[in-house]
């Protein structure tokens, strides 16, 4: 055994040189980030590998990315994934080993492959989506209907976000004079705390009589959407009893929140447009019924007046006919009357005999001596009964 004594520095130096000698190359390593922080432009990370079954760590190491590299790596990563590097992510890093006498061992990061992280993110999202589908809640919101009279709106947004202001403004100045009652439930809309604060807001809204919920975020917010991809948030939204409209404002693929909500829109103003158009369609339906009633009425009125006219035009004819008939009857009666005129009978040689002014038809009612008056066609004969 070597009984020579070394200084710590010398020993550490030995380790350092061995490593530099034996492992001069760079390596691509897959690992999970358990810590990630920035200090003075450098990035300090903790890498970890967990056992797949038990989730206990089986490997751990520090990693550093010096400012000169970090300055390009960071934006490259964020552009590709739409997220900031943070704990919990799986990453693929190009590293070389460094053992420093004073600072110990660390991997030094030269490069990163963000598509690996993307793949992991996508996998995690798929898992959450499958879980939601298995729970049977994935489509629940889509089965809800936006109420016809949708005017009490609960908004979850950041108070200071321009999106909320635009949304309110557009509703207030809509060209149809629709009235909307908007109430804000402020929440954190990016970074940590998104999940908890939105869930808390939904909790409050649950007990109040709103017609729908709108979750919006102004454009221009950094595209850190990871907060909107969590299982707990999705479950809360999916199970919510009234329709939720999401307009979290991004061009990338939908977040899970967008997938489970009732409707997804691209911007806060698009959400306002949706609500205005919805009310407009109800107004149009009312106007349409008004029109149909009015034209039905006109139809009935004109048909009734038409009937009236038809009857009216028949009356003179009927009257005329009736008059003619009556005239004819009168004429006939006149003829009959004429025929019954006694003067005609007298002219034919018949006479009328009267006794005391009464017409005699029975000779046995007379006794001798009665004075009789006999009317003939010309003149009157006075006579006395002899027997």
């Amino acid at each position: 055994m070597d009984s020579k004594r070394h200084s710590l520095f010398e020993l550490n130096r030995l380790v350092r040189e061995s490593i530099e000698c034996e492992m001069p190359d760079e390596y691509w390593v897959e690992a999970e980030l358990s810590e990630c922080r920035e200090s003075r432009g450098h990035c300090y990370m903790e890498l970890i590998q967990k056992d797949e079954q038990t989730a206990t760590p089986i490997a751990k190491a520090s990693a550093k990315c010096w400012a000169n590299k970090w300055i390009t790596i960071r934006p490259y990563f964020e552009r590709t994934t739409g997220q900031q590097l943070h704990a919990g992510m799986k990453v693929l890093l190009q590293v070389y080993p460094q053992f420093h006498e004073a600072y110990g061992f660390s991997w030094i990061v030269n490069d990163i492959d963000p598509t690996y992280t993307l793949g992991d993110m996508a996998r995690k999202r798929q898992e959450i989506i499958l879980k939601l589908k298995a729970e049977g809640v994935f489509d629940l919101q889509k089965e809800l209907k936006l109420p016809k009279f949708c005017q009490h709106i609960a908004v979850i947004s950041s108070q200071t976000a321009a999106g909320y202001g635009d949304f309110c403004n557009q509703l207030a100045t809509n060209p149809y004079g629709f009235h909307f009652d908007v109430q804000l439930f402020p929440a954190i809309m990016q970074g940590e705390g998104v999940e908890q604060s939105i869930i808390a807001a939904l909790e409050q809204i649950y007990h109040l009589p709103f017609d729908c919920v709108v979750i919006i975020r102004g454009g221009g917010a950094t595209s850190d959407m990871s907060g909107f991809d969590t299982l707990a948030l999705a479950e809360n939204v999916a199970n919510f009893p009234i329709p939720i409209i999401t307009g979290i404002g991004h061009e990338r693929d939908e977040s899970i929140l967008d997938m489970v909500s009732h409707t997804r829109v691209k911007t806060p103003t698009a959400a306002a447009t949706l609500l205005i158009d919805h009310s407009k369609s109800v107004l149009d339906a009312i106007d349409d019924m008004q029109t149909r009633i009015t034209s039905m009425l006109q139809l009935k009125l004109s048909s009734a007046s038409h009937q009236l006219l038809t009857v009216e035009s028949k009356i003179p004819l009927l009257l005329e006919r009736k008059l003619t008939n009556e005239n004819h009857r009168l004429l006939l009666l006149e003829e009959k009357l004429k025929a019954l005129d006694p003067t005609l009978l007298l002219a034919r040689g018949y006479s009328i005999t009267l006794h005391n002014g009464r017409i005699i038809k029975d000779a046995t009612t007379l006794k001798p001596g009665d004075k009789l008056e006999t009317r003939v066609a010309k003149g009157v004969i006075q006579s006395t009964v002899t027997n």
Binding site: K148, F149, M289, R292, I293, M296
Partner: protein, 58 residues
């Protein structure tokens, strides 16, 4: 919810009118009812809750 019922009632009245299911007397009163419902629904869209309450209690 009851405003959705008002819309549904309105649709029924219009349908009955168009299908000639109403006689002259019914027409008159159903027409009046329809006009009431139309005004109610239009107001609901354009007025605040407070204003509507006021209208209903008048």
């Amino acid at each position: 919810m009851k405003y959705e019922a008002a819309l549904a009632e309105l649709q029924t009245i219009v349908r009955k009118m168009e299908n000639d299911e109403l006689d002259i007397d019914q027409m008159g009163e159903q027409l009046k009812r329809a006009q009431q419902l139309i005004k109610l629904c239009r107001d609901k869209l354009t007025k605040t809750d407070a204003e509507i309450k006021k209208i209903l209690t008048e």
